[in-house]
Subunit: 383 residues, 2 copies
């Protein structure tokens, strides 16, 4: 809250309206699958507690999960829900007028998933005397450096990601349906460990197979794996909304030469980047190290090769702040966490091998302990 208010002060705003569920959770603990209706957290510079505004039937979730007192949990009536004639933001406008807060400078998260164009129109029309500024990612940037508690959550998530990837490798095989592999992965993700349970990851397991490995974000079908099929498995462990993503590529049978070559280059690039990570280096410098490795080996990649990650809700576990790509001059600091995912997608195949890492005082710690290589099934070392 203090660091958020400092950013508000620097930006010259009296009030910040937060609709990003991760930011709502970060500041208050609020945690429920209620972001499919409009809801909001209003942070006022001059008040200790923010105000939660949401649907009536979700007010008790705010009571159970946040540190806010009852007076700061303000539900709107159900007739505002998905209505063609009234909008929850009208309720917010009325609330601010009632409290004589309608002439202030208000930051809104203009490019957050659940802040629709209609929400903004209703606010600007309903509060004609207010001044609006862009507060996109204002809290996200506060979140980029994790507390020790957050890191302990992410480490638990990493343990879950290891278990889930092991289950994926054990399950995948010739003749097995894609959906049965993902069912086993999902079971492992949610079960967690003996000591702690898992939460739902913000992205379901991705499992492009065969030549569809060239399509990064496909999910799964009920087709059966065939001999020779490659498959990409991208998943995350999640603990209390904190993620640790992990991707690997597997081939059932013998990988072709392209697949082997690209995998080797990707692993070499990842190793070079991980060796270079330390406080003080910038995101774009890390990307250059990666690019030099792969270009020397004749491979080009246009897309970003990593991003800050941690706390989030569907549809993304990325934090929308720093990206490992050209032009991003964010300087790495201890307790930042990144997903390093230099996926290579070609016309008829793709390779993804990734690591999530924590920036330490002197370098980095890779979060999941999992062999960094193209996995071939059946794996003779396991046989």
């Amino acid at each position: 809250m203090a660091r958020t208010k400092q950013r508000m002060l620097d930006a010259g705003v009296d009030m910040l309206m937060i609709t990003d569920p991760a930011n709502m959770n970060y500041l208050t603990g609020y945690d429920a699958w209620s972001f499919y209706v409009h809801q909001m957290l209003i942070v006022m510079l001059d008040e200790e507690q923010p105000i939660w505004v949401g649907r009536g039937q979700d007010a008790s979730a705010a009571e159970y999960t946040t540190w806010l007192d009852g007076g700061h949990i303000i539900p709107y009536g159900d007739h505002y829900v998905q209505s063609a004639v009234r909008h929850p933001m009208d309720f917010v406008c009325d609330l601010l007028k009632e409290r004589k807060r309608d002439k202030q400078t208000i930051a809104v998260e203009l490019d957050a998933y659940y802040f629709t164009a209609r929400s903004y129109m209703q606010l600007t029309q309903g509060l004609p005397d207010a001044k609006f500024k862009d507060g996109t990612n204002m809290v996200n940037w506060v979140r980029i450096i994790k507390s020790d508690q957050e890191i302990s959550y992410i480490k638990k998530a990493a343990e879950i990601s290891e278990k889930a990837m092991h289950v994926a490798f054990e399950t995948i095989n010739e003749g097995v349906r894609e959906c049965d592999v993902v069912a086993a992965i999902s079971h492992a993700q949610i079960r967690g460990t003996e000591d702690f349970g898992g939460d739902y990851p913000s992205i379901v397991p991705l499992l492009p197979t065969g030549e569809k490995t060239s399509a990064a974000h496909l999910t799964w079908t009920d087709d059966r794996f065939k001999h020779g099929d490659p498959a990409i498995i991208e998943l995350a462990g999640c603990y209390r909304r904190y993620h640790s993503p992990l991707a690997r590529t597997v081939v059932i049978g013998q990988p072709n030469d392209d697949m082997k070559y690209v995998s080797d280059v990707v692993v070499e690039g990842i190793n070079a980047v991980l060796d270079a990570v330390k406080p003080g280096i910038s995101c774009e410098e890390l990307e250059i190290i990666w690019r030099q490795v792969i270009e020397r080996r004749g491979i080009k990649k246009e897309s970003r090769m990593g991003y800050s990650m941690g706390l989030n809700y569907p549809p993304d576990w990325g934090e929308h702040t720093a990206s490992l790509r050209p032009g991003d001059r964010t300087i790495l600091e201890p307790n930042m966490t990144f997903h390093l995912i230099p996926g290579i997608w070609m016309d008829n195949m793709g390779v993804e091998i990734s690591e999530s890492f924590l920036v330490t005082e002197t370098g980095c710690k890779v979060l999941a302990d999992f062999p960094r290589e193209l996995y071939v099934k059946p794996n003779i070392r396991l046989a």
Copy 2:
């Protein structure tokens, strides 16, 4: 496409920009977890094929999953992704200017989840000669009456929902962790049946327990169930993005009198509504039938008690069109599908028992075949 274009014609628009992933899927088949970056389908009244615009690395997913030819799949560069200095909608503006489409009347889905305020600002600023209209739910209303193929998908989803609820009932017990119950549910949802696999539901299993049953949209923890705990289980089966939701309430041990009473009333109310469903009746008339039953028994409920459902992506399986509530005069027609979920949430407890149904020529067909009652565990009939 034809019915969408008819609605565009009626609304006086040349072009419809679609960002709702369910509407993109409905019109083209597009199916990938790529809605965490900006993407869009542009339907032009005078062109047979719509244009898919999305991130470069997702273009191959469009090739694999849609009926569009390559010329209608237009990727933007990765430097537009989550950038503070450029926005994917700038790319869309340039595209329309290039094609001399920048002076047309354009409908946008102003209140769709992934159409942000920033998206709308970039479009209106980048296309100053275009005229913008609200196209929220334009395609959703086309979707409200399902084809036979869609109904066959929803029936498969219903089979999965039965299996998942059976697994939930078998697994839940004193001493079991909540996460382990949900892991089993999720496994059943994704595994599907021997004959067909399951897809990811747009909402994860909801599992409020104990007095938290008063909070409708809580997910789960790793706490262990105690003797006497009630729990609400709300889940859906999903097949190829089509849903069939189902909710039940379970008590471990003996239910208290309130829980028994409320459950009986809810079941009585559901039965009365299902008896009344037929083509020609309106949504609000169904709600009145429900309300009369429960008020006679001394229970009040403010929130809507059902909604149209079917095809969707996170964060919702509802369709955002017809709701069973006061003031909704939508007339039921054959091949509409609803989730009838008259949840009752009180101060310290809640009861959810729901059914999904298909409107038929003469009445309705309940989609899942599952005992409609408060479930008490251990259940002597199963013992």
